[in-house]
Subunit: 335 residues, 2 copies
């Protein structure tokens, strides 16, 4: 077991989701007086299929062993599931563990468990400009909260705040907010779906699987008989032919996503920035930019100016949770 | 001018809204090592009509003069308007001022300007149990954010977080989120209003004036010819006769308010608590408790358990912004 009391030893970070468990090693910067200013890098990155392990302890031990004797001072594990008290369940893997027991099992001095989307959120302010596409320039309000929104398999939401240089991150469940409408067409879509969904949330229509739901519902609204398409097929067709039904669906998707992001920004008071992450948007960044996403975002009556002042950034860096976990641990542990 | 460099001298707090300007004096607790643990009290409270002043400097000077020579170390003024940079506008009074210029004009060493609903939010954790009605007991998640929601003339929203004992408050604009629906009846209400509103927000229906809008729209949905009623008339009739149309309107209001509060809690990840404030709910606390408010709050598909674990507290203390400003200043200035 690679374990030491030397707090200058590196720590490990992980991003453990339903499909993959990613790991990395982070060196503690020398003489860092301000944990936020220090630049952290993640080395020795490894990726394993999560299904090859029976539990989180096995996964971490496997990575620690791969380090071949490098001493580590602690670990920050970002996991796909809600983190509240000592007991944590990874939603898709059905792995259940106690944080305090895991710390003992791994023989670690320090162990931090955090939500994976919260880790992703912690990375956003550290992402290099070259990995960002600007959707709205805006005029950020200093020290205001940052909203992080990620439509993918689900719809991740987090909030980042700073106070006296200290970061506070909150994992939110904004993807499960009820989906509001701005016009009659959107309302017809909701009416079509009302009977089939116990609750029509943002995630129901504005995620990867949601895009397929939207395609089906809009076809019914338009009285078209169309076979279901996979989300990747819809985006492919939309990009190939701008007069296609898929392109119409993707346009509606983008505008509606803007409206939902506007609601989240208002609820969080996210006047510093909205970061867009998650896998699906990277399939059509230019389409998104040309779409009515921004109009939907700002279309909130006399809050238009407030919203158009919020910078919106699309993150193209796909492996951010590890670096976010590194920054979170670095601040939380004051190392 | 009452001004001193003595940081042990008391500071003043204010809650300056469109109608009233309230002031008070706060003594610095002796030997307080933890600013969050100290109990602060506001003395020498005075209330003036805001319209009797031509600007904020005049209002503060008037109060300082009333103190008859008591030395003050600084001021924390909570104002009804957005606070972002040095320039502040009080929305309803059309008072515009620069924070740095005001500080000079008042000859104060320390001046903090904050949003009034943010000040209200800062007070909530310090409100005595006797001024709280429990709407949902829940199981709070420690260190999670707190949402503060206040339907009144408008619909105030704020978020409170803690990190290492340090408070971070964000003034939000959640009242301007698009209003979502959970059923066909609510959708009919939206359809009735769609033509008359540029944007149908939470505030459009779930505030004092919103209750009157809801009354009118529900009457149209039910094909009733009814003269408009003032919000206070609707609540009065509803409480007098539970079979009245007003009682039906108020029931719909409560359920829909629950749904909107649920969305705000999800967007903020407010697993520690939701505090309900604002004037209108205090007219019918028992009706609210007996209503479907909580069912609306929890009615978010598989997030039901997450939401039913969030404690919901109705604040009956009406003058909280002063005490919130006191706590905010006390922490911000480390005094």
């Amino acid at each position: 077991m690679s374990n030491t009391n030397n707090t200058n030893a590196p720590f490990i970070v992980a991003d453990i989701g339903g499909t993959n468990a990613r790991f990395g090693l982070v060196d503690i910067p020398i003489a860092s007086t301000n944990p936020n200013a220090a630049a952290l890098t993640v080395s020795q990155q490894k990726k394993y299929p999560s299904s090859s392990f029976s539990g989180i302890d096995e996964a971490v031990k496997c990575y620690l062993e791969s380090l071949q004797g490098i001493a580590v001072s602690g670990a920050c594990l970002a996991v796909a599931g809600p983190v509240g008290n000592d007991n944590v369940t990874l939603t898709n893997l059905k792995w259940n563990f106690s944080i305090s027991e895991l710390k003992q099992q791994l023989n670690l001095d320090k162990l931090v468990i955090m939500n994976d989307f919260a880790a992703y959120a912690c990375a956003t302010p550290h992402i290099d400009e070259q990995h960002i596409i600007e959707i709205n320039q805006g005029k950020p309000v200093e020290n205001a909260p940052i909203a992080v929104v990620g439509p993918g398999t689900g719809f991740g939401v987090a909030s980042l705040s700073y106070s006296n240089g200290q970061r506070i991150v909150a994992a939110c469940e904004g993807g499960h907010m009820s989906l509001a409408t701005h016009n009659a067409m959107q309302q017809q879509v909701i009416n079509v779906l009302r009977d089939n969904f116990a609750h029509i949330s943002i995630e129901s229509l504005l995620s990867g699987p949601g895009l397929a739901n939207l395609y089906q519902a809009l076809a019914i609204v338009d009285s078209l008989r169309l076979a279901p398409l996979k989300p990747s097929e819809i985006t492919k067709k939309a990009l190939e032919d701008e007069s296609s039904f898929s392109a119409k669906v993707l346009s509606v998707f983008c505008r509606w996503l803007g409206q939902a992001c506007g609601d989240i920004a208002l609820a969080q008071g996210a006047q510093a920035a909205v970061y867009l992450g998650g896998g699906i948007l990277l399939r059509f960044p230019e389409f998104l930019k040309q779409s009515e996403f921004l109009e939907g975002f700002c279309d909130k009556g006399h809050m238009r100016d407030y919203l158009s002042d919020i910078p919106i950034k699309l993150v193209t860096e796909s492996n951010s949770a590890l670096i976010g976990a590194a920054y979170y641990y670095h601040q939380a542990e004051g190392v």
